[in-house]
Symmetry: C2
């Protein structure tokens, strides 16, 4: 088969079959994917079904803390978890550029396997297409996912309520800065790594404390500012954030200052922001801190009836400013 | 926003929001997609959940009889239908190349809307990424889908049984030849069109006759020969096909002869091949012929205990030959 992807790998014939069975199958073998049927057929627990999709075009494909494979699995697991669903299965759609090194594909599939095992989701199906050299950039990955939302859970961007407390599960900006520094060949001495991680365990711990989480989001493209603005807009509420309480690693802050970015707009891939009644906030915060990836969690603000559809930042220097949604281009191909 | 896609449309900020709300939303507005939550939450009927994904990289994007939008929706609807599922919802993942004309995007989304309405599936979620000029080829589309498999249905590539009759729902090779002729600028006088179409209505009619469909496949990439070989292999049976009974349009046959293709290996996007007990075959054939897209259906062969894992063709000239799986490259980017 040679050491690189060729157009024959995408033709649907013998080379395609070998690619799927011998390379993809090496990492993702299971009874469902082995059936080679046009659809996977799943026995899901009772409940409403959560369904989501994301395509990943991150550049570079490998970056400090992760790669396009781990990013794609974590991203879709997290999208399911953000509506309170228990992730069950994902699909993996690959678009490969002719000439992609098979060694790179192996490395990416190994990440997919490792992270899906950690998150406890099965890779239930997939699809592989190959395009000519110059018609894609190495590899694009689509992951879609399904899971079940248990009875009594109703988490939505439109459900935040005045009086709710806002919890952030850790520091912001790590992923965007890690990818950008690798892409631009900037070597920050302190080594900034992507935070890409599956958050379904954390969400299960939170929902174990209370089913009354009102809204939840993982602040990816557009960063925390964009997620907060979307929730303020959809819920018709104001949000006040205390800047001093938002964790930012010193090395990320330094990099942002050097590059001219505001960490509030930089992408995260292993963080969540959650809205809940004040009475539950301390217990939920403790659950997050005890969960994997949540040790730096903090209460960062609250929801107000005042200033509907606006996010207000109480700044570290004592003033107030509007945290507006991102406009224009910040970082293309960050996920 | 200008008349073409720019990198800002993919940044996750204001331009992304406008693209999703004003362009995608123009065609695909519904309560679920409007929630802007990270996952759609669906109330599906009881039953096992079918789940599938496909990425589409067809070149050219617009071809006689369809475009990448209709192809993507039909393909995923059909993958669900091939395991007997009633399609419920699909997601739409777009990878756009900087510089794509917005008019082309409108035209593609209009196709997505039209075909998903015909198939009766909701577009429950989506994702849009933008890459720099030269890092993709205009537009790639991923569609994933979910549906429910009613109680008592068990259709799988591994369930074909000796004695089963093989029905094909219509002529083969139309899609592949339509795409190739457009790509290569060959103008066949007779006008060959892609057969891209949703087959869930046809499958519902078949299952209305009998739940005892054993195996079913839509012969896309790799054509009918590849689908038959996969079923022979997975079910451990032989399949004998009578070449004279396989419908091929004269203009498609002519084009295949001119271009050096065997229609058995050319992709279809609106056909199915189904395996069932002989006692049910005539009634199922009538149901297919009465359904949309099934008027040219025919019984084309049978399953044997002899020659396990092989497909044998009784040729039109009276001989017998093995119909082997496709090896090597036939037609890249045909879907």
């Amino acid at each position: 088969m040679g050491d690189v992807i060729s157009l024959a790998h995408g033709s649907g014939g013998e080379a395609s079959r070998k690619l799927v069975e011998e390379i993809v199958g090496k990492y993702l073998k299971n009874d469902i994917i082995d059936s080679l049927d046009d659809s996977a057929v799943l026995n899901l627990p009772a409940g409403r079904v959560a369904f989501t999709t994301d395509s990943y075009v991150v550049d570079p494909v490998f970056f400090p803390g992760g790669d396009i494979g781990s990013l794609a699995v974590n991203g879709t697991v997290n999208d399911l978890a953000m509506v309170g669903a228990v992730p069950a299965a994902i699909t993996l759609g690959l678009i490969l550029e002719e000439g992609l090194a098979l060694a790179d594909l192996h490395r990416i599939l190994e990440s997919v396997k490792r992270v899906s095992d950690e998150a406890g989701v099965i890779v239930a199906g997939g699809d592989t297409k190959v395009v000519e050299r110059g018609s894609a950039d190495r590899i694009f990955v689509n992951t879609s996912g399904v899971g079940t939302v248990p009875e009594g859970i109703d988490i939505s961007s439109s459900n935040a309520k005045p009086g709710d407390v806002v919890i952030l599960s850790g520091s912001i900006g790590d992923h965007g800065i890690a990818v950008l520094s690798k892409r631009e060949g900037i070597d920050f001495e302190t080594g900034i790594e992507s935070d890409t991680a599956p958050l379904n365990g954390m969400v299960a711990a939170m929902l174990g404390v209370t089913p009354s989480i009102h809204a939840m989001r993982d602040p990816t493209r557009g960063g925390l500012a964009t997620s907060l603005n979307e929730i303020a807009h959809k819920s018709g509420v104001g949000i006040v954030i205390d800047e001093a309480d938002v964790p930012v690693k010193p090395e990320v802050m330094q990099a942002c200052e050097m590059l001219g970015f505001d960490p509030f707009y930089v992408a995260n891939e292993g963080k969540l922001v959650a809205f809940m009644p004040r009475a539950k906030a301390d217990a939920v915060l403790q659950a997050i801190k005890s969960a994997a990836y949540g040790q730096d969690a903090a209460i960062i603000g609250e929801v107000t009836a005042d200033n509907p559809r606006m996010v207000v930042l109480d700044t570290a220097v004592g003033g107030r400013r509007i945290l507006s949604p991102l406009s224009g281009e910040l970082l293309p191909r960050i996920c």
